[in-house]
Amino acid sequence: MRTAAYLIKKLLSASVTLAIISLLIFGVFQLLPGNPATIILGVDADPLQVQALSEELGLDAPPLQRYARWVAGLFSGDLGRSVRYQVPVIELIRQSLPVTASLAALSLLVTVALSVPVSIYLAKNNNKKLPTFISALMQVGIAVPSFWLAILLVMVFAVVLRWLPSGDFVPFSQSVSGALRSLILPAAAISIGTTAVVIRYLKNTMLDQLSMDYVRTARSKGLGKNKVLYRHVLKNALLPAITMLGMIAVDVLGGSIIVENVFNLPGIGRLIISGVGNRDFPLVQGLVFYLALTVVVVNFVVDLLYAAVDPRIRLK
């Protein structure tokens, strides 16, 4: 009952969020100048072709009607047809999702896999030389513009060393190792920044936790410093970091937009940019909706996770 009500409440606010997003995008698209048909056909188009295309795309319908159609479609599980690519948006998402999803998953994985041990190390050895150096390095990592970082990574690892491909996604279905190889550099480009942010946060919470009373209590039982850290502090420090997951998810998705362009990965981010450029309303609406949904779902899951891990929320 409790959980159900909690769920319903969360779901409600999430749907409000999504509704706001969809209305915003729609509004913006009404204001953006440019006609998809002209954009698709370009400078050399024959006026007859442009007209034919406009009609075919249904661009002559009044905007509200188009929106209503889109929303109606949404409820029947149909995100509409892309104006630019002439295929159902869902099809495009299906094509590009694996790329972005695996990129995001890998980045997230790297972020978590790196930040937890490093921040433990930093928290344990606060104020020593090497850890300070690592912290400084992480700071530099955040400060480098992402596309430059991406390009530098390619330069070093793909062009000079030739260890990894410079881009272009190999589908998992074709070759798992190939897919992973093609994702390593982009994931690195994204996760350097997020890892640094997470480490900074985790280290701080860890230090905060270390100064808590319960640590002293645990030590007074006869637990050694390390044991206290692993048995008691870690869980408490990771807990608030869970809420960061939602934010990182947004960061990772945002980062993937530029990185996908640099690495020419056919993912959601690249699709969105082209969608905006092409005034492909159904596509952008669909994608942003999808992204927002992902973020909302991630936050939702994070909330549930938090509730599941933290007895204070679970049992109150």
Binding site: S13, V16, T17, L18, I20, I21, L24, V28, L31, L32, T132, Q139, V140, I142, A143, V144, P145, S146, F147, W148, I151, M155, R200, Y201, M244, M247, V250, L253, G254, I257, I258, N261, G269, I272, I273, V276, V288, L291, A292, V295, V296
Partner: protein, 272 residues
């Protein structure tokens, strides 16, 4: 406080980097070695020398002068966007945090909606809408920064408004504007400053990102992001051209980040 600042490495290094940035900025306001936009197509891609400290670019413009002038752009975009984000975020956050209830709910949903899709897309759409240029770039980046300020303001308001000294002031008849101006605001200044500092560096990076997507500052106005983007084309032939604006961005962002972190440590505020 000053003593503590002296021992905080983050703060020190950040302050030094920003001082350098400020010196560059002030110098650029007085004069630059060359006209940053003056081309000399005969002398393109000169390597660094005494004549051109950092060499020349693909149009033979003096990179050092452009870097200097670019500092102004960085400053303008950073300040304006932070100001916009801060102002709007503060008002929304204040309303949300002070009133709570339905107003809070509505504002938080709006912020959620904005946070749910990547800032760069939002900025992209906004710039498309209002046309490119430094003003609209700053505006777009300002808008993307709103949730950040809104959240921190809200959190501070919710926290501070429950504190005893607010209660005491209330019992002495202080009005709401007075409570906010004289009691809440001064006490949330440090988290706001920290957030603003960090938002400043985010703005610099975002400007570079927008330049990469072909928007942002209008040429030939020098901006580090744009320079870095333009230099990518010559990465293989003239790597130092890309190296310079890249380093400038990195160092400035680093400066702001370190300063922000340092301030956070010094004032012991929690922000994200």
């Amino acid at each position: 406080m000053i003593k503590k600042a002296g021992r905080n490495t983050n703060f020190k290094v950040g302050a030094i980097l920003l001082c350098l940035f400020l010196i560059l900025l002030i110098l650029s306001l007085i004069c630059t070695p060359y006209d940053p936009n003056k081309m000399n197509t005969q002398a393109k891609f000169q390597p660094p020398s005494f004549q051109h400290l950092l060499g020349t670019d693909n149009f033979g413009r003096d990179i050092f002068s452009r870097v200097m002038k670019g500092a102004q752009t960085v400053c303008f975009v950073g300040f304006t966007s932070v100001a916009i984000g801060l102002a709007a975020g503060f008002i929304l956050g204040a309303v949300s945090g002070y009133l709570g209830g339905p107003a809070d709910e509505v504002i938080m949903r709006l912020m959620d909606a904005q946070m749910a899709f990547p800032g760069i897309i939002l900025a992209l759409v906004l710039i498309t809408l209002i046309g490119p240029g430094s003003v609209s770039t700053a505006l777009a980046l300002g808008v993307t920064a709103v949730p950040r300020f809104c959240r921190i303001t809200r959190a501070c308001f919710m926290q501070i408004k429950e504190l005893d000294y607010i209660k005491a002031a209330k019992s002495r008849g202080a009005s709401v504007p007075r409570l906010i101006a004289c009691h809440i605001l001064p006490n949330m200044l440090s988290p706001l400053i920290v957030t603003a500092t960090l938002a400043f560096s985010t703005a610099i990076l975002a400007e570079a990102g927008l330049s990469y997507l072909g928007l942002g500052i209008q040429p030939p106005q020098p901006s580090w992001g744009k320079m870095l983007f333009e230099a990518q084309a010559y990465l293989l032939t003239n790597p130092w051209y890309a190296f310079i604006p890249g380093c400038m961005i990195t160092l400035t962002v680093l400066g702001f980040n370190l300063l922000g972190d340092g301030l956070r440590d010094l004032t012991d505020t929690k922000t994200l």
